[in-house]
Structure formats: structure tokens, C-alpha cells
Amino acid sequence: MTSASPAAPAAKTRLRLVPLLEPRQSVAEGLRIGIYVGSLLLAVLVSVLLLAGAGVPPGDLGREIMTTAFSSPRALGSVLAQTAPLVVAGLATAIAFRANFWNIGLEGQMILGAIFASYVAIHDIGPESARLLLMAVAAALGGMIWVAGPGLLKIRLGVNEVITTLLLNYVAFNLLLHLLYGPWKDPVSAFPHTEQYEAFEKLPQLGWQNLTWALPLSGLLALALWWAYSFSRLGYLVDLMRSNATMARAVGVPVLGLSVASILGSGAVGGLTGFAIAAGIEGRMTQDFFVGYLFSGVLIAFLGRNHPLGVVVVAFFMAVLMLLGQSLQVFFGVPSALVQLIQAVFIICVAASEFFLTYRMHWRSAA
């Protein structure tokens, strides 16, 4: 501490504190939850202030959100309907990230998945009873084909997969446009989407709200991956490879095989994301069914720490944020730009909380 000279007024005496960062060796569960909750509370506080500035009284806000957005089965149904594709998108990304393969090509893989599934639907391939299964298999195959090239380039030549997977999104989109404005234009309306799938080509309704089987199936996929990563030998080896590939190879872990499996697995689930939307939500392939899922997928995988169950939880909250944005617009007439700002505040707060989980911060005086 700087010593104050007796002549100087007390105000001149300044205590300058600087942070000192120390990486945490381990994080207690309570602290983890505390930090997450704290970041959410901060986000709520900032959002309420922003909205108050825009003329929404905080009291009204709380009441509206609690009574309207979360209490009715209809609202919960809407959130869950949006959750399903986000879960699959987050899983597709997490599988790749977990193996240190930065797959930024989710949208391309979704498009190829939907194209392959639509091909099966349009050309009536296979018996009606097996049609959906065939569409799903085709979608997974399409996604795998689209990620295989960047995977091969990365493994054999060390080409940066961020660039290759990202650019292939544009190739896939142009392929989609070609099909929708050309051979696959809707024969009924001449508008640019495929014809409607037959009833047996859509994921069946659950019978509650407007939910389809996309929701339980995405949950099952998350459970299966959770089991694989947490309890199977495979998951252990993938994590070993992720933390140090050279060491893993030295001790005999089949690094090449695991990388290939993870990359193709990510592509396959990416293709299934396209299938989940085309067959589970839209009932046909539309021109922009994939828009936004790339960034959502990366965000969900990141915030869910590439953990399958974390992905499910984060996907649910993402869906809540999206739907909450709508109710803010509908009920309070706030512009959508403000809604997006609030969504960003939540995401930044949660993302920033990672920092406090990774580091312990000591305050030292800078003498």
C-alpha cells in the first residue's frame, strides 16, 4: 500500500488494486452453479434496465413473463418445438468440437441432409412403412458426405477445417437454390420449396400441443451420446485424444479412427438436423429452413461445454430466449433490435461466466 505523506490530503491516497489470475485446478459444484446463476441474474438486471429505458415497467414485465410465457401449456409446447432442432444442431457441433475438429459447416450439412431426405420422399423410394427411416438414413449420409471432404483434407493435408467447412455452406446453399428454383420447385404452387411430404414422410405428432417425435428422438440421441461419452471406453479415448493427441497416439489410442468417427458422426447428426426440421417441422424442404442454426449450434455446444446433456439444457434456454423475444414484441411493442440485444446480453453474461470458472481472481494492490 502506498504510504500517505502527512502533508498530502487524504484523498490523494489511492489504493490501486490489480487483478491477479490463477487458473483453477478444480471447481466445486456449488461454485459452478453459483457463478452460472449469478451471470443469469446480471443478464436479467441489465435486460430489465434496458427494457425500462424502452418504456416497459419492470413490474409489468415480470408479471407478463411469468403468467403468459411460462405458465400455459401452449407456451411450453412452443418452446419445446423450438428446442428439438436446436438440441440436434448443438449435438452435431459438440461431437466435432469434442474431437478438436472445428466444424463450422453445420448449415451445409443440414442442407445436404434435407436434400437427401427429400430425394427419398420425392422419388418414393422404399415402402411407405420404412420411408421415414430411409429418409433419416439418407439425411445422415448426406451430412457425412458433406463433411467427409474437409475431414479428409484436414487429416491428410492439415487444411484448416474452419475454412473448408464454412465455404462448403455456400456451395450447399447454391445447390439448394438450384433444386428449389429448378427441378424440385413445388408442382402445386410453382413456389420455391419442394412438394409437401406425404403424411407418412413426416415425423408423427406426439398428440400434445404441436410437438412431433423430433423432440423425444433428439432427447434419445442426447442420452445415447451422453452414455457414449461418459460411460463407454470410446468416450474416454475421445477425451484423451482431445487433451493431447500426441500422447494418446503414443499410448496406442487409435487417434485416426476416432477422428474419422467423430468427424463423420458430426456430419451425420448435422444431416439429421436438416431432417428433423424438414420432416419434423416444415413438412417439406424450404429455402431457408437452416438459417441461423450454424451460430446457434456453435453457441449451444460452447455454452453446454460439448456435454450432450449440457447441450440439451442450453438448447432449451435458447428456445426460451427466442420465444421470450417474440412475447416482448407482441406484448410491449419493443422493436426486434432490442430483443436481439437482450438475447446477446444473456449470451455474453453466460459466456463471460466461463472466465470465472476457469480462473480464480485475486486482488492485489499495485504498490
Binding site: 402445386v188 404452387s189 413456389f191 426486434s336
Partner: protein, 361 residues
Amino acid sequence: MTIFRSVLKLAAVGTFATMQLAGMAQAEFAAVGNPKPAVILFGPSNDGGWSQAIDEARQKLEDELDMRIPQAEEIPESATAIRPAAELFIERGSNIIIGSAFGYSDTFKELAEQYPETVFINPAGTTNGPNLKSVYGRTYETQYLCGMVAGGLTKSNKIGFVAANPFGLVNWTVNAYLMGARQVNPDAELSVVFTGAWGDPVKERAATEALIEQGVDVVGQHVDTPTPQIVAAEHGIYGTGHHRDLSEFSAATQCSSVWTWDRFLKPEIEKIAAGAFEPAPYGAFLSIAEGGGDIACCGDAVSEELKAKVMAERDAIIAGKQIFAGPLSDRDGTLRVAEGEVLSDGDLWGMDWFVDGVTGQ
């Protein structure tokens, strides 16, 4: 499947319509009494084009009908986004839901069946029912008139056109634009570039600059942003706008093909309130006279003589003149409309051909 498809094609000649004829037989829609409309916008309400045109109509209606009309903007064309937005409004007491995108069509159809007490109106939609009506304008009429302006202004006889996506409702504006231009200038040629996106300022700028390099000196457009007009002004050439009066963004704009949604929606809302909603199996396909649109014309560069010609043609169209009247052949020489006939609405929606003088990329 192919047979199934051709049957469908025949059945849906109107095609403004994945109409389900069975649905049309349902009972007439009852009066809603106290109308409470709400608007769901596909784009941001200040996009300068399509969405803003609907938003401006909403504001006019608020004044004229003396009511607040809430809206939600930037609701993407995905069932998971459209449905909750519409349902929030309905729970909140709205009984007339106004959409703004063809990607809303399937979801609006489902919602209309689920909420029979609510009327759904969807500009640019394709589905219809007892309480659901899709609406679009005969934009070829207004683009034809702006094409006349372009034809009169061009010195090089090379006109450019920046278009979004190549299908019926865009292709007809391309064709009509050149037909209008040729009416005042038979030597006019039209180069069209499709950007593949409804609103992508970057691609629109690249497309406009490429056209200008090819020597065009007037640029027309059918995209959602005013970018082509802004680029035209930067290069000191003229242009014509679409969706709204784009002279607000660019001094280059000499004519705009504009929406006048309030002219359609005001009487429509009043009819719904009075219990006189008229379902239409093929939706409403509005001419200038029916409130489908109009032109904002003309800029300073347009001579009084040219302006008089355009306005006289506008009067003729309002009085019933048809743009796609036979004999009309496409650029490959195939006869598309026989002598004495007029292109059907179904063929308009399915238009995948261009008239002589149109050059693609």
C-alpha cells in the same frame, strides 16, 4: 408420382393456392364484430422495401380505423417461429392475423383450421380457406409502367434489372418491365441478374455494378432493399424502384412500383367486422384498381411528354387493359399467349419463360 403431379398441376391451375377444395365447402365465416388486427412481419419493419411497405400500411390503418395494431417483426419463415407469434396475438385477443411471407403459408393453413374464429390474411401467401386468404398484387402492371419510364430514359438502349429469385412472380415483373420499355422504345434490351436472395445488399451492389459495366444506363429492380438505386445514383445513371417509393433513398429513382396495402386492408377489415368476409379459393390477386399497388412517378428526369404517356397507360390499365395479351411469344419463339387471349393467372404464377430482348446472366 408423375401422374399424381400432373393431376395436381391441373387441379391447381390457379395455384395461388394449395387450396383444399374440401375446406372451401365449410360454412361461411362469421362476423368478428370488434376487429383487432395484428401484423407478423417477415423482415425488419425498416427494411426500406417489402416489410416496411406493410408496416406503413399498418400505421395508416391505425389512424384511419382509430385502433392500435400491434406487430411482431423479423419472424422467420419457420413453423416454430410463426406459430407462437400468431398464438400470442390470438391469446391476446387479436382476431385478424396479417402475415407477410409465402413461407408462412403452410403454418397459416394449420392455424386457420385450428382457430376458426380468427381470420388470417397473408400477403405473398399461397394457401386459402374459409378464414384464410392469400393476397398479392398484379405487380406486372406497375412494373410495366416503370419500364416505360426506363425505356424513355435510356440512351444506350441497354436497361438492367436486379431481381431476387427466378420464379413466376419475379419473372413476370422482368417481362413486363421490358414490354413497357419497348412500348416507348422498341430498341430497348434488358439484362437481368438474379441475386438468389430477397434482401442481400452486398449481392445487389455487385449485380448492379456488373450491369453498369456492361453499359446499362437505367436499372430496374425486384429485390427487397434499395441498394440498386443507391448504386445507380453513385454511377450517375437512372433507376426505378419496387415495393416503395425509393426516391427517398436515391436521386436516381425516376419511378417506383409501390404497394398500397392499406387500400386493400381497410375495406377488407371492415368487411370482416361486418361478417362479409369473402373466402377466395385462389386468394386475392389485386390489380392497381383493386388496391394491389400503384406507381410513384415521375422523377425530374422524366419529360412531361413521357409522364403523360405513362399516366395515360396507367389509366388504360385501370380501365382493363391487359399486359400479357396475345399474341405473345417467348424469346425462343414459342407462342405463349394466342391471339385474342390473355395469360391465365395460373400461367402467370408458373411463368418460367422470358420475352424476346431479355438476357440472363
